[in-house]
């Protein structure tokens, strides 16, 4: 990357973050909430891109990490007397990391399709546990809680307004993007990409492929858990549905629609998916997944690089 590229990257990054930061000041409440949701789902999609796009592992189990982030935050907010924001984040991340470690330990023994199926089945294990363990998780009814204030407890705490909540989410997502970008460009990220390109050769060079995969799954799971924590803070609600397979499926759809292996693509994909859902549900009400599924299949077949890859190729022409 040349110096000029670096500068244009930072300028672009600053412009986009500034635009997103200004969004809640000009948008009506519905769309403000919509943009915040896009950022949260975008973070989830981005975390999954670390596996799909950079390591070549399709995870169909991200709902487990996301859901455990939601429930971890919920537990911290319900159990500790004055609800503490940082404790909620810490517990959410710890829960997601624990589950990710567990899933990673087993699923990384397998490759390709087997990895996808195993992650899917593991996420369903957690769904069944959360759904049936009513006394702890609220089962079908889920859990409700109140969002803590922002600040240092005991010293200075402000209540979240929808606008500051948006800024908080934006700050976390932007920071996560920078961290993930750094990871993918680090020597560690290079090894992941080598695994994606040729696992056998990477092993032959002397890298311990399984260790790298386990760390990749755990990192990805932690960021998915962070998205879950943000979702819990935004909606003050935890439900078993967040652990259900559909969330994982949608995460994969965001990635494919936006363009895998780009980090920005999944966020674009999440925005595209949610906008499309909004538009389609005007016509198809709750059956919006019929046309959306058709569009998704068409994109898998005709636009394998996703929106971002398609745009890039089109611009370069």
């Amino acid at each position: 990357m040349t110096k000029r590229d670096t500068r244009s990257f930072w300028i672009g990054f600053a412009v986009i973050v500034a635009l997103l930061a200004a969004a809640p000041l000009v948008l009506p409440p519905f769309w403000r909430h919509f943009v915040t949701e896009i950022l949260i789902w975008g973070l989830l999609a981005m975390s999954s891109d670390l596996l799909i796009g950079y390591t070549g592992l399709i995870s169909f189990g991200h709902s487990a990490f996301f859901g455990l982030g939601v429930y971890g935050a919920a537990a911290a907010l319900l159990l500790v007397a004055p609800p503490n924001l940082f404790l909620a984040i810490a517990l959410g991340l710890a829960a997601a990391a624990l589950v990710a470690g567990f899933v990673a330990f087993f699923s990384t023994r397998l490759r390709d399709i087997y990895f996808a199926i195993t992650t899917l089945i593991f996420s369903q294990i957690f769904y069944v546990i959360i759904f049936t363990w009513t006394s702890v998780t609220g089962g079908e009814n889920g859990l409700t809680f109140t969002r803590p204030g922002l600040g240092v407890p005991g010293l200075y705490v402000v209540r979240f307004t929808p606008t500051t909540m948006h800024w908080f989410v934006l700050a976390v997502v932007a920071l996560s993007y920078l961290v993930l970008r750094r990871i993918t460009r680090s020597p560690f990220g290079m090894v992941l990409q080598a695994i994606r390109e040729n696992e056998g050769r990477t092993r032959a060079i002397g890298y311990h492929v399984e260790h790298y995969k386990i760390v990749a799954v755990m990192l990805s799971g932690v960021f998915a858990g962070l998205a879950g924590v943000l979702y819990a803070l935004q909606n003050e609600f935890a439900a078993a549905d967040f652990v259900f397979f559909l969330v994982s499926g949608e995460t994969v759809i965001y990635n494919v629609m936006g363009g895998i292996g780009t980090l920005v693509g999944p966020i674009v994909g999440a925005a595209f998916f949610l906008l499309l859902r909004e538009a389609l549900s005007r016509f198809f009400t709750e059956y919006y997944l019929i046309p959306l599924g058709v569009i998704f299949i068409a994109m898998v077949i005709f636009m394998p690089q996703g929106l971002l890859g398609f745009a890039r190729r089109w611009l370069n022409r």
């Binding site: 399709i58 390709d112 399709i113 059956y287 997944l289 959306l292 998704f296």
Partner: protein, 290 residues
């Protein structure tokens, strides 16, 4: 705790019955995977569509046998269309893209069923209503009919693979796609045919199983999940392995549901999967390398 022998006998029968249905679902999945390297995410939806078509035909004609054959044929056609439209363009690409395409198809089919038939579950009347004494229980004959019918379909298919002209084409394509093509076998059509056969098997199991639970748009997912478990435990692509694993897993689940609720009993099959992955990642019964 005393061992409830009577319950164990009943649950053994139950386990074998669900195991045979599961074997029918899983062997369609294994077949499609073994030959085309395609993991068919839409398999559960084909199962569900079969059950719905069974409901419709049964309501209008009253013949269960006709419902079974019509559902299988119609879903076979749907499967063939699905393969031609969504999977054929993906030949030669990363096999992972086929998961995505069939996942999209499953969303479309599931929501189509929801739109067309609504969320309320429908009943298929049991074609055989008699019961017999099993210890202190009145056990419905129909459950045994299911097991026998599933075994018959699987057996017939096995014979077809072994001795039928097109069965030999299918096996040849599994062994060596390029060589089969060179020998004049129309490989793309074998793929379409195999997908159609797998779809028909899913549909047949849907119709057979319908009377036990009721038919609703989301009925496919638990089955396809269990079928995935069975296929991994049995050794991916191994036909006999997936049948053995289906019965094994179903038996364990039936025994577990003596003590815990059925929705928690599914955790037993998850545990079997985890243990298999730990100690024998190639599957309990298969020898295929992965």
């Amino acid at each position: 705790m005393a061992i409830p022998w009577d319950l164990i006998v009943v649950q053994t029968v139950n386990g074998i019955v669900t195991g045979m249905i599961l074997a029918l679902v899983a062997s369609g999945l294994t077949l499609i995977f073994g030959i085309m390297d395609v993991v068919n995410f839409a398999h559960g939806e084909l199962f569900m569509l079969g059950a719905y078509i069974g409901v419709l035909v049964l309501a209008s004609t009253g013949s269960f046998l006709l419902a079974l054959t019509t559902a299988s044929l119609v879903v076979a056609l749907i499967g063939a269309a699905l393969q031609i439209v969504t999977l054929r363009p993906l030949i030669g690409r990363d096999p992972l893209t086929t998961i995505l395409a069939t996942f999209g198809a499953s969303l479309v089919l599931q929501n189509y069923a929801l739109w067309q038939f609504g969320p309320i579950s429908r009943k298929i009347a049991e074609p055989v209503s008699g019961q017999f004494h099993l210890l202190y229980l009145e056990y419905p004959w129909y459950r045994l009919v299911i097991a026998v019918a599933s075994a018959a379909i699987i057996g017939a298919f096995w014979l077809f693979l072994k001795f039928g002209r097109y069965g030999i084409w299918i096996r040849a394509t599994t062994q060596d796609r390029v060589m089969a093509q060179a020998m004049g076998i129309p490989v793309p059509w074998v793929h379409t045919g195999v997908f159609a056969i797998g779809a028909a098997m899913a549909a047949a199991s849907g119709v057979l199983f319908g009377p036990l639970v009721g038919v609703e748009p989301y009925m496919g997912l638990p089955w396809v999940l269990k079928a995935f478990i069975v296929v991994v435990v049995g050794g991916m692509g191994s036909f006999g392995g997936s049948i053995a694993a289906a019965i094994f897993v179903s038996l364990l689940e039936s025994y577990a549901s003596i003590w815990v609720s059925p929705s928690q009993a599914i955790i037993v099959s998850f545990v079997v999967l985890i243990l298999t992955l730990l100690f024998r990642p190639t599957g309990l019964f298969g020898s295929a390398s992965r």
